[in-house]
């Protein structure tokens, strides 16, 4: 493969990385607008929560013509400062907004809900959920002296959800939040999107030590939300993944990427990917995972992944070419799809997500240091360059695999959402470390395997076989008989 072709191949790989990065950035965590005050912090989220399919809404963006059965939740949360002594809070939540066209409507089909998390003097803590109707004000009395009144007032000039919270003579210390629902009408002809500004007024009654009495303070919270036509985001996204990923495969093929792999390389990768599929889908899922994953910590540190990573490292070690990791994973995924997951073009980006970074690591590491990949060169006592390479290949594969799986593929393809704390602390970081360690300890095994199959001495080896067959004399591969007596 010429230098120009190689450059093009690297560009395609880099482009695919940028694409995946952009893909993951399209799913931002829900971020509310924050208002910090002396009495605490307000959080204003619109829309709030998750959609029909379970995907988290993007804050500040609503789509037009929203079915009133679902609507969008508006959530206002108030984290009260520790030293504030608050006796009563009244929220007037804007349910219509101000914009050049009247597009947002209060959803009178849904009730106002909310929760007060309180801490009373004497250290008693608890929470109280409340629910209010739209048309008539209702009073919810708790076991505690709690009074909460919520109503949805509607007249020609003003539409708002009102919630009044007080605990009698006790102060409220903790968090207070409430949600109500709005829905959107269709955007008229000529409008692609429109900005709607929502105002929420909060009156807080608190004890002021300077004047030694309860005083009130009013806050105006402002939230600008864009209402636009539905962008078919998921479909466009899903289709782009499929098209771009397959485009990458075809582009690499046209650019001669596969020419850098000999037939022996291709077969080696194919066989090792088949091994991975057998190991995971047939033996692993049925026999090994149910047993091994029950050992505390084994699942989190991906102990059962060891043979999989070992096979991946063997492939990278034997082939030693950029792209070998991605290609092995790509093939493993296709075989797994045929046999288990179902052929789905939308999954095609998954092996790229986990394989491109380890391949780039190997590429850059070699370019920057000029030391042979997986070399036996000692770095510090007991640790060689090979161990480090193995560690990073395993680590990056684990890191990007879990991130892409839990943050992109599960939510997009299966609408399965997982808590970010669980994903990062319990899954991604330990599993990346586990895969890294497995990668490091796989390198000596890969070395043994390579010695045993003698790919490097390909021609002499063929000649020896040929010569031995002609002369009808047995042959011995130097060094291997001693190292792997069981195998030979």
């Amino acid at each position: 493969m010429g230098r120009r072709t190689r450059g093009n191949v690297y560009r395609v790989i880099l482009l695919s990385m940028v694409f995946l990065l952009a893909f993951s950035l399209i799913f931002p965590a829900q971020a509310a607008t924050e208002y910090k005050t002396d009495l605490g912090t307000f959080y204003y989220s619109l829309p709030y929560g998750v959609g029909r399919g379970g995907a988290t809404y993007k804050d500040g963006l609503m789509y037009d013509n929203r079915d009133p059965r679902y609507g969008y939740n508006v959530m206002i949360k108030f984290d009260i400062a520790e030293d504030a002594k608050i006796y009563k809070i009244i929220f007037y939540g804007d349910a219509q907004g101000v914009s050049e066209i009247n597009i947002v409507k209060p959803n009178t089909n849904k009730k106002i809900t909310g929760t007060v998390y309180y801490k009373l003097s004497g250290g008693y803590t608890g929470s109280k959920q409340f629910e209010g109707s739209r048309t008539t004000a209702s009073e919810v009395k708790a076991a505690l002296p709690t009074t909460m009144v919520s109503e949805f007032k509607h007249n020609d000039n003003d539409t708002y959800a009102k919630v009044e919270i007080s605990l009698g003579n006790s102060t409220i210390n903790g968090t207070v939040e409430f949600t109500f629902n709005v829905y959107t009408g269709p955007l008229p002809e000529g409008y692609k999107e429109v900005d709607v500004t929502f105002y929420t007024y909060v009156i807080v009654y608190y004890y002021d030590p300077v004047v030694d009495q309860v005083v009130s303070k009013a806050y105006e919270l402002k939230k600008v939300v864009t209402v636009s036509k539905p962008p078919m985001l998921r479909f466009i996204l899903a289709a782009s993944i499929a098209i771009v990923s397959m485009g990458i495969v075809y582009a690499l093929s046209v650019l001669g990427f596969f020419e850098s792999f000999t037939t022996v390389d291709l077969v080696t990768i194919a066989v090792l990917a088949a091994f991975q599929a057998v190991r995971v889908q047939i033996i692993g899922r049925q026999l090994v995972f149910p047993l091994l994953d029950r050992v505390p910590g084994a699942y989190n540190f991906a102990v059962a992944d060891f043979p999989f990573i070992m096979l991946l490292i063997i492939a990278a070690y034997i082939v030693k070419k950029p792209g070998s990791v991605t290609l092995t994973l790509f093939l493993y995924n296709i075989i797994s799809e045929i046999g288990r997951y179902g052929i789905n073009p939308l999954r095609r980006a998954y092996p790229f997500a986990q394989g491109v970074v380890p391949d780039l690591y190997l590429l850059l590491r070699y370019k920057l240091t000029s030391v042979e990949l997986f070399a036996d060169k000692p770095l510090i006592k007991g640790i060689t360059v090979g161990h480090v390479d193995g560690f990073f290949v395993g680590f990056f594969r684990g890191l990007f695999m879990q991130l892409s799986l839990y943050l992109v593929f599960y939510p997009v393809l299966f609408r399965l959402q997982y808590d970010l704390g669980y994903v990062l602390i319990r899954i991604t970081i330990p599993r990346a470390i586990g895969n890294g360690i497995e990668g490091a300890i796989s390198v000596p095994i890969a070395k043994k395997v390579e010695e045993a199959i003698q790919y490097r001495d390909f021609k002499p080896f063929v000649f020896i076989i040929f010569a031995s067959r002609v002369s009808n004399t047995p042959f011995v591969i130097k060094g291997v008989t001693r190292k792997l007596p069981v195998i030979l």
């Binding site: 809900t113 968090t175 479909f235 289709a239 080696t268 047939i282 395997v449 195998i487």
Partner: protein
């Protein structure tokens, strides 16, 4: 319920929370998937799984179809369930994936195995979503208001999850339809298509020749790998190596370590042997002029029959319908079934 999950009631506040958290994290939470996997393994066994994931020779209309038609059907169901949100739409895809199995005349064992596998998937996904989906599990500080809370986790576990809800389980069970529809469609594909024919499907889709070749080699290698693994494990067993600990005794960790080592030891000879065979295969392919010319000829050509063409067009129409539904549901509400 409270007592069974909090058996540390006599411990003081924070310590109780930490101990209960560790207990839940390490013992209780893994218990459900562990039990389901164990039961699955007990009921089906390795041979049952192998049967489930292997080709079943039959003379049926589905078996006679062109691999591309079957590949596209499997793919349409996979894409369809990924894009559909409505429960009814998902059910339609699930029914479709199950109905298309009927003409394939699967064996009773295969049907039973599939049913067990699908039900276990529903249970496991429902279980994980009941306490790991933040939309349903943030019952103390977050979004999950007014839901049916089964259990609230101790403070020490709140970084991960806050509670278990019935709604989370139901949500997970409904979403699992996506997984089991795709799984069922995939199993139908491999159980009705001979491994050597699968590659023709990819060839027709104009996959790069190298990729098609690798898929063919990989699929061809699988039975050989299984056979070699079986031989090596049998040989190791004959030498008194205990692959799976038979009893839980004081030295259980040693036994697990021994199992781990035995599996690696069993794997290495198979890898080496298979890679050597693979090298011969590469030699054979090179000798036969593989990649020497851009245009390839094939030993066997599978022609598409009229039925194949009609069905392929129907599947493509289904693809188009699924895609159109994403755009047109905005105007025609009935299409939101597939949106």
């Amino acid at each position: 319920m409270e007592f069974t999950i909090h058996p540390f009631i006599t411990l003081p506040g924070e310590l109780k929370s930490i101990v209960a958290g560790v207990f839940l994290l390490l013992i209780v939470l893994p218990l459900v998937p562990g039990t389901v996997s164990y039961l699955l393994f007990k009921i089906l066994g390795i041979s049952g799984f192998r049967r489930l994931f292997s080709y079943e020779a039959r003379d049926s209309p589905i078996h006679r179809l062109h691999p591309l038609t079957k590949l596209l059907t499997s793919s349409a169901i996979g894409v369809g369930v990924a894009l559909t949100d409505s429960f009814l739409g998902l059910l339609i895809f699930l029914l479709l994936s199950l109905i298309i199995r009927i003409p394939a005349n699967p064996s009773e064992r295969k049907v039973r195995g599939l049913a067990i596998l699908l039900i276990s998937n529903v249970l496991l996904i429902g279980r994980s979503q009941s306490f790991l989906n933040p939309a349903f599990s943030r019952v103390v500080t977050g979004t999950a208001r007014g839901l049916t809370v089964v259990y609230i986790f101790p403070k020490s576990l709140r970084w991960m999850t806050e509670g278990i809800t019935v709604e989370g389980f139901v949500y997970g069970a409904i979403q699992s339809i996506r997984v089991i529809s795709a799984l069922s469609a995939a199993l139908r594909f491999i159980s009705t298509t001979h491994p050597s024919e699968i590659v023709y499907g990819f060839k027709t889709l104009k996959f790069p020749i190298e990729v098609t070749f690798m898929i063919a080699v990989a699929i061809k290698s699988i039975p050989s790998i299984l056979e070699k693994t079986s031989v090596v494990i049998s040989a190791e067993r004959a030498r008194a190596m205990e692959i799976v600990p038979r009893s839980i005794s004081r030295n259980i960790f040693k036994k697990i370590a021994a199992t781990f080592k035995a599996l690696v030891d069993a794997l290495l000879p198979v890898i080496i042997e298979t890679l050597r065979e693979a090298r011969q295969m590469a030699l054979a392919a090179t000798i036969k002029g593989f990649r020497a010319y851009k245009q390839r000829t094939y030993y066997k050509e599978i022609e598409m029959s009229k039925t194949d063409i009609i069905l392929t067009l129907a599947v493509l129409a289904l693809f188009a319908f699924i895609i159109a539904a994403q755009f047109l549901a905005y105007k025609y509400p009935f299409l939101s079934l597939f949106q």
